[in-house]
């Protein structure tokens, strides 16, 4: 829920003295969740007497004997009337449970640069309240948006602590420019770079991880152009407005406390083969290839070794069986403590929050610890001036481990063969009797790239790694009200982000006999100033106008330096020049309401950005929208069934400018670049200029209908949209014969078109309550045009996702696998004409599926009986494909990778119908090039549809629990389980995957590609919360 504005806080106590015997009605007013409601208004007999509930939700009214009518009201809840008949001297206890009003007339939503009555909004905005954000433990707050809003696709990050989710609002509309929505915290567009630290250790930096979910009052997701065009050049991928908690005026002191403890386990486990299984499969491959005797074993023998040596190694290997997966995972412990203080006086409001969150993942050695504090202070200086200060400071410490392709569990799922020992059991000597490996030394093996491996050794001894993130988001806002209905808001914001990565590496036997350490520091300073003026003008009774005009300037400076200290070559710290960008903007909005039912809005923004050259420096982003509240019309006003009906439509342009700061410049190396040839200095071009680089622009049309039925017992919203993005920015691979390999240009055209539906239904009311929130969205995504370029013009990192005209962004571009030849067990592919071939050839790659779902959605069912409550959040995704990119090695050519037990279903003799071809150690048998076992075929493209029980929570609430002298309000105990089960046909690990990405382009192009990605966690938690 949004900020509760306790408008009716003033008391209206009328003193009556004519009665000798006092009759009293008293009780507690609470909400649908049995949480007490302070500040609710209780009026007797149409206002003859009245009072507000106190901090405990309690009220007490003294009335004359006889019949009275009591009215209970509270913002956002339906009014309740109760008739009472008081006998002389009677004290009646009357507790009231308020029912929420789904479409409350004065309910407000946060919009760009202001708030609007929800009723008057003509744009498409989804709101998620604080309760949903804190209901379940997530690696980072944005993951909790999953399943809450139609058309907002949240793909939760991996099992790594602090990992980032990817959020796509109404599909992907960008290729190389960042495709994430713009995040705005209390009016400040915050720094949101996921690639500050690249893809180190197979994890991207998560700029949102330091935000404390307990400080957030509400999150608004702006979806259509009418809502986002006010953010102009940065609105094309949606805008997420985060509003933090504030103290309300004239309230006493309340303290909220929440603590949660839990454990983390993997939601699913890989099914790697054990020694016996692996060796059996490997031996079979060897024999299929014509080998005799025992097969050679990686890191022990080679194919050229004699039979005796091979046999010895094989037999020795059979004596060990190490479950490497088990040695990289465990049970992570989670604990979170949060306290929030709110206090409101005559002139001020204060919110102060402090929280500590230690979020260990199930990956051994991995955890994210965050401590954060916030103070939001509002002070009314005088009649025309109010000051609002928001400041937060948080520190996140991520204890890192390598994952996926970089090590840890990734090793356990790939190069860690089950017969490799963790340590040498006995000392090993060379022929001369010199000790090579003492007993207990970690066994180090080499992967196929020569990398030294042993995930246990790295975790326990060789490498310690932590990322420290300090962040402070600050804002001072002055609100001036010089004349009636005119508000001028001046705001200055400063967002400071500091990242420090510390890696210490100890000697590794046989690899390195010295220690080394690396330090990487980045800090980003982000300033924001804005000035807005808005004026409400009620011309006549039926004509209401609202005007907003504003200007905004934002500047960001990113600094970074690295320091490497090794025993051999110490390098000094070097401070580079900052990378800078700025935006200068002017914007306006006009609203007109006629008879409270006909709504028109127009917005416009002019944005200038340092990222674009003078030719295209400024962009213009207008929008118009209109709404009609049909239910206010006479013919519907008295309808028994339809309590609310509104139709609205909008058109607008939005942009995306999320590209590297200096992409437009042609540059040469610095004069003192330090590179010499023949001891003479050199100068060389680095990047080609593109002075015509410009915004990508999305043209969005949106129409929707909102409806409430049966006194809003059921409310729903149905919307359709069409979003055509033009001049989409691509960092295209240019012909290397030009002397360059990449070039930023406005190239593509992308269509996103969709339907969104959400419904909220109070199925059962009364003592037993059952409420259902359901949303579903379909998005159709198509790359309409990429000029003269081919699918290979851009690609998603190391993934095999490409841009194919007529297909969705990020299509899998692979060789199509047809079947296993029953006669000889060989894989059969289909060429571009659909003809069968044994030849695996990159020239026959084609579209074989994509990672974009046909439908996504979520459903929350809430049940309540007396003090008990039960909540179940399920999310689903239908129709997306997943490319299990690591399966091509786990289930492909037998190699130095461990295999999955799925591999048992392989061809063994003529006539066999098998999923996998004949086992072989020779990649050429599968038609691959020698030395290139990367079998990128559609065999590993699977249906990734799933239904996941994201959260199941059971709670019990004590109202006004008294323990000795203390009164605890709304003390709630709850247990919850996340990811309890997932229904899917995907045979791999986790059908919901946001892997580590190489860059923003990869993040756009490679949804649903998994490569040894740690699965999400399943956590079991116990929560205690109360207020006093």
């Amino acid at each position: 829920m949004r900020t509760k504005i306790f408008l009716l806080g003033a008391s209206m106590v009328i003193f009556l003295s004519s009665f000798v015997h006092a009759q009293t009605v008293k009780g507690i007013v609470s909400d649908e969740n049995n949480l007490v409601l302070p500040g609710a208004t209780v009026l007797a007999d149409g206002g003859a007497k009245g009072i507000s509930t106190d901090m405990n939700g309690a009220y007490s009214l003294t009335l004359s004997a006889g019949e009275h009518t009591l009215e209970f009201t509270f913002i956002g809840y339906q009014k309740q009337s109760k008739k009472v008949n008081l006998a002389a001297g009677q004290t009646l206890e009357l507790n009231i449970s308020m029912k929420p009003d789904a479409v409350f007339i004065d309910d407000v939503v946060v919009v760009g640069y202001g708030v609007q009555r929800k009723k008057d909004v003509t744009g498409n905005i989804a709101t998620v309240d604080s309760k949903a954000l804190t209901a379940l433990p997530t690696p980072s707050f944005e993951a909790a948006l999953q399943g809450q809003a139609a058309g907002v696709q949240v793909t939760q990050g991996s099992g790594l602590a602090g990992s980032a989710s990817t959020i796509r609002v109404r599909g992907t509309a960008s290729v190389s420019a960042g495709g994430d929505p713009l995040y705005v915290v209390d009016g400040i567009p915050i720094t949101q770079d996921y690639f500050i630290r690249g893809n180190g250790g197979a994890m991207n930096n998560n700029p949102l991880a330091t935000l404390n979910p307990n400080d957030i009052e509400s999150v608004e997701i702006l979806k259509d152009a009418s809502a986002t065009a006010i953010y102009g050049s940065r609105g094309a991928n949606g805008v997420i407005l985060i509003t933090t908690k504030r103290g309300a005026k004239k309230k006493g002191l309340t303290i909220d406390f929440t603590s949660r403890v839990g454990i983390s386990t993997p939601a699913t486990l890989p099914n790697m083969t054990n020694t016996e299984e692996y060796l059996q499969l490997r031996q079979e491959a060897w024999e299929n290839d014509g080998g005799t005797g025992y097969v050679w074993l990686p890191n022990y023998t080679t194919a050229d070794d004699d039979a005796e040596t091979r046999a010895l190694a094989y037999k020795e290997a059979m004596t060990r069986d190490i479950d490497w997966v088990d040695r990289t995972i465990g049970t992570g412990v989670k604990q979170m403590y949060s306290v929030g203080i709110r206090k409101g006086g005559e002139k001020y409001g204060l919110y102060a929050g402090l929280s500590y969150d230690d979020n260990q993942s199930y990956l051994l050695g991995n955890g994210y610890e965050r401590i954060s504090g916030r103070i939001n202070f509002d002070y009314t200086v005088n009649k025309w001036l109010k000051a609002m200060v928001s400041t937060s400071l948080s520190r996140g410490v991520n204890s890192r481990i390598d994952a996926a392709w970089s090590g840890g569990l990734g090793d356990a799922m790939s190069n860690a063969l089950p017969f490799y020992p963790e340590r040498y059991e006995d000392a090993v000597f060379d022929a001369d009797g010199n000790i090579l490996h003492p007993a207990d030394e970690y066994f180090i093996w080499r992967d196929e790239f020569g990398g030294a491996k042993n995930p246990v050794g790295y975790r326990e001894s060789f490498k310690s790694w932590r990322n420290i993130e300090n962040r402070s988001v600050n804002n001072l806002r002055l609100i001036m009200n010089p004349v009636k209905n005119l508000n001028i808001v001046a705001s200055g914001g400063f967002d400071w982000m500091f990242l420090r990565e510390e890696i210490d590496e100890e000697p590794i036997p046989t690899v390195r006999d010295f220690s080394q350490s690396f330090l990487n520091v980045n800090y980003i300073l982000n300033w924001n100033y804005s000035l807005t003026a808005n004026y409400d003008w009620d011309l006549l009774e039926d004509h209401k106008f609202g005007f907003l005009a504003g200007t905004e300037f934002q500047r960001s400076d990113s600094y970074g330096y690295s320091e490497e200290v090794t025993a051999e070559v110490p390098t000094p710290q070097r401070n580079g020049n900052p990378s800078q960008f700025s935006f200068l903007s002017y914007f306006g909005r006009a609203n007109y309401t006629y008879k409270d039912r006909y709504l028109v809005q127009a917005t416009a923004r002019v944005d200038g950005s340092s990222r674009f050259g003078r030719n295209n420096r400024y962009g213009f982003f207008p929008s118009v929208s209109a709404g009609w509240i049909v239910s206010e019309e006479d013919f519907l006003k008295d309808s028994k069934n339809i309590s609310f009906l509104k139709v609205k439509a909008s058109w607008g342009l939005t942009g995306n400018a999320n590209i590297p700061d200096y992409a437009r410049f042609g540059t040469y190396s610095a004069a003192d670049n330090g590179i010499l040839y023949g001891n003479e200095a050199i100068l060389f071009p680095l990047q080609l200029a593109n002075p015509n680089l410009q915004w990508e622009t999305s043209r969005v049309i949106d129409a929707s209908v909102e409806m409430g039925l049966w006194k809003d017992r059921v409310t729903f919203e149905l919307g359709v949209y069409n979003k055509m993005s033009n001049d989409v920015l691509m960092n295209v691979n240019v012909s290397p014969s030009t002397g360059f390999t990449n070039y930023w240009d406005n190239v593509a055209q992308i269509l996103n078109r969709g339907v969104e539906f959400s419904i909220k239904s109070r199925n059962i009311v009364g003592k037993f309550e059952w409420t259902t929130d359901f949303n579903i969205a379909r998005n159709y995504n198509e790359l309409v045009d990429i000029g003269n370029y081919t699918p290979d013009a851009v690609s998603g990192g190391t993934n095999d996702s490409r841009v194919i005209v007529g297909k969705p962004i990020g299509s899998f571009y692979l060789v199509e696998f047809s079947h296993v030849d029953q006669a000889n067990g060989l894989p059969v592919y289909l060429d571009l004409n659909g003809n069968e071939t044994y030849d695996y050839d990159n020239a026959i790659r084609k579209y074989v599926g994509d990672g974009l779902p046909d439908f996504i959605g979520g459903m929350t069912n809430s049940f309540r009986y007396k003090n008990w409550d039960l909540q179940a959040l399920a999310i689903f995704s239908v129709g997306a494909k997943i490319f299990d990119s690591s399966a091509k090695r786990q289930l492909g050519v037998v190699s130095s990778w461990n295999m999955r037990t799925d591999k048992f279903d392989r061809w063994r003799q003529p006539g066999d119908v098998a999923e996998f071809p004949i086992l072989t150690l020779d990649e050429t048998k599968y038609g691959l090039d020698e030395g290139f076992p990367w079998w990128n075929t559609s065999l590993f493209v699977y249906d990734a549809s799933y239904l996941r029980l994201r959260n199941l929570a059971l709670g019990y609430t004590f109202q006004n629990l008294k323990v000795k002298n203390m009164t605890f309000n709304n003390l709630r105990l709850a247990v919850n389980v996340t990811n309890l089960f997932t229904l899917t046909n995907f045979p791999g690990l986790d059908p919901e995957v946001a892997r580590d990405f190489e860059n923003a382009q990869d993040r756009n192009l490679s949804p649903n590609v998994t490569y040894l990605t740690p699965p999400q966690e399943r956590s079991y938690n116990f929560t205690l919360s109360f207020a006093f």
């Binding site: 500047r555 040469y668 610095a670 023949g678 050199i682 030009t738 290979d792 090039d929 020698e930 030395g931």
Partner: protein, 455 residues
């Protein structure tokens, strides 16, 4: 008073809106020079020219030579390097990053050369002599790059009657326009034109940078591969007869700190700037097991004659054969055109024309004297042309082992009608031409090489 504050504050806010201007949006990258400011003075241009030597220094530090050598049967299968295995197996595809990197680097230099050639009008204070030298050096490097590319990525010259078979993209302008492949004939014409310009305009002396004789040395090699033997021997003779160079007495042309006396053109290394990693990282056998080992046939060839002092170049290490040519030094200079090669080239060119056989014999014998000792294994002065050719080839094979030259000689012989098979595949099977990088196909219309067909 109150009113004053009020309007003062609002006025201040109002001023904020006016202070905005375009300057707020001007950020230029630090640590770099903007392209429009980069080339102003003769020094700037000289530095840009020097960056081309930097590029070819990183290409010919062994990287390119290794790729050429992998196509011969001089090496054993490179088990530990997938990309080398692909080259060796004649199975490169457009994802083979090593070959893609080499390709891109050559064109990086070509772009820079073209930029040099198009920048003269913007440079103040450049005298005509300097302009002429810089122009000639840029065209020299452009020719070297185009020629290296066409040898690696296309079938050899003379493989079709009119050389109309597809070569590589010829880039004679610093343009971003996607271009298709030119024919091998067109590429060679451009290479010869550039080298002849360089030859006519380069100074006689130019430190370790390209000189008139460097261009002559390359012209000899280019004409030789075109089987234009009169020109090949003419330019070889120009270098040999200049007496500017002399055969290195100790067989080792890969010298540290000194440039071998027989280096006509080469890459230079310094203790602070190694330009030999492509050799050292792949072949050095004195600091561990090298990535590349020699084939058994190479070892046999070298050990045929016990008095051949070059036998030490290949060592037998428990049945693996390692090159020792690059052992011992962390850095060394890399000769690309050397007197040894030109003597042997001229010997074959003259013998094939059946002229000046005495000169040809002397060329071969000069090399043999150094390899075997005075008077040992010498060709008789009346040796027949065919004998001279065979001897010249035999010495060329040995002298240039690991230098990445031999494959060009094999292919040339193939185009002359000799039956040349390399590891059981014809010299011109499709995979002998490396595949172009994926990036070339990012624009439709580029014609890739056919793949495979060699195994």
């Amino acid at each position: 008073m109150k009113i004053n504050y009020k309007y003062l504050l609002i006025l201040a806010c109002g001023l904020m809106t006016l202070s905005a201007c375009d300057k707020l949006l001007e950020f230029e990258p630090g640590d770099v020079i903007l392209a429009e400011d980069a080339l102003k003075t003769p020094e700037d241009l000289q530095r840009l020219l020097n960056s081309n030597y930097d590029v070819i220094g990183n290409l010919f530090d062994g990287r390119v030579q290794v790729l050429s050598e992998l196509l011969t049967d001089n090496l054993s299968f490179p088990e530990d390097n997938n990309d080398y295995a692909a080259v060796y197996g004649r199975q490169t595809n457009f994802f083979t990053s090593t070959t893609n990197g080499v390709y891109s680097d050559f064109y990086r230099a070509i772009y820079r050369c073209n930029t040099v050639l198009e920048s003269f009008d913007f440079i103040e204070g450049l005298d005509d002599a300097e302009r002429s030298r810089i122009e000639a050096e840029a065209r020299f490097i452009r020719a070297l790059c185009h020629w290296s590319l066409v040898k690696l990525y296309a079938q050899p010259y003379n493989n079709t009657a009119n050389n109309g078979h597809l070569g590589i993209v010829l880039r004679l302008e610093a343009s971003q326009e996607p271009l298709g492949r030119n024919t091998v004939g067109e590429v060679y014409d451009a290479v010869v034109a550039d080298l002849r310009f360089a030859h006519d305009n380069l100074p006689i002396e130019n430190s370790f940078y390209a000189s008139r004789l460097s261009a002559a040395g390359y012209l000899a090699h280019v004409y030789f591969l075109m089987n234009d033997l009169p020109n090949a021997s003419l330019y070889a003779s120009e270098v040999i007869n200049s007496n500017a160079f002399s055969l290195d007495s100790d067989l080792d042309r890969y010298e540290q700190d000194n440039i071998s006396t027989e280096t006509v053109f080469g890459i230079v290394s310094f203790s602070n700037d190694f330009r030999n990693d492509g050799f050292s990282n792949n072949y050095r056998s004195d600091i561990g097991t090298p990535v590349l080992s020699m084939s058994e046939s190479v070892f046999s060839t070298f050990s045929l004659n016990p008095s051949d002092m070059r036998n030490d170049w290949i060592e037998n290490n428990n049945g693996s054969y390692f090159s020792t040519r690059f052992n011992g030094s962390n850095y060394f200079n890399v000769p690309l055109v050397h007197l040894t090669g030109l003597h042997l080239l001229r010997a074959e060119a003259l013998a094939a024309q059946n002229i000046d056989l005495d000169v040809a014999v002397a060329d071969v014998n000069a090399i043999r004297t150094r390899a075997f000792g005075e008077g040992i294994n010498q060709l008789p002065m009346d040796a027949a042309a065919e004998v001279i050719i065979n001897a010249a080839r035999e010495e060329m094979f040995k002298e240039t082992i690991c230098e990445g030259v031999w494959i060009d000689y094999l292919k040339r012989r193939g185009t002359l009608g000799e039956e040349i098979t390399i590891r059981n595949a014809p010299y011109d099977c499709p995979g002998m031409a490396l595949q172009f990088p994926n990036g070339e196909t990012s624009v439709s219309g580029f014609q890739l090489n056919p793949e495979g067909g060699c195994n």
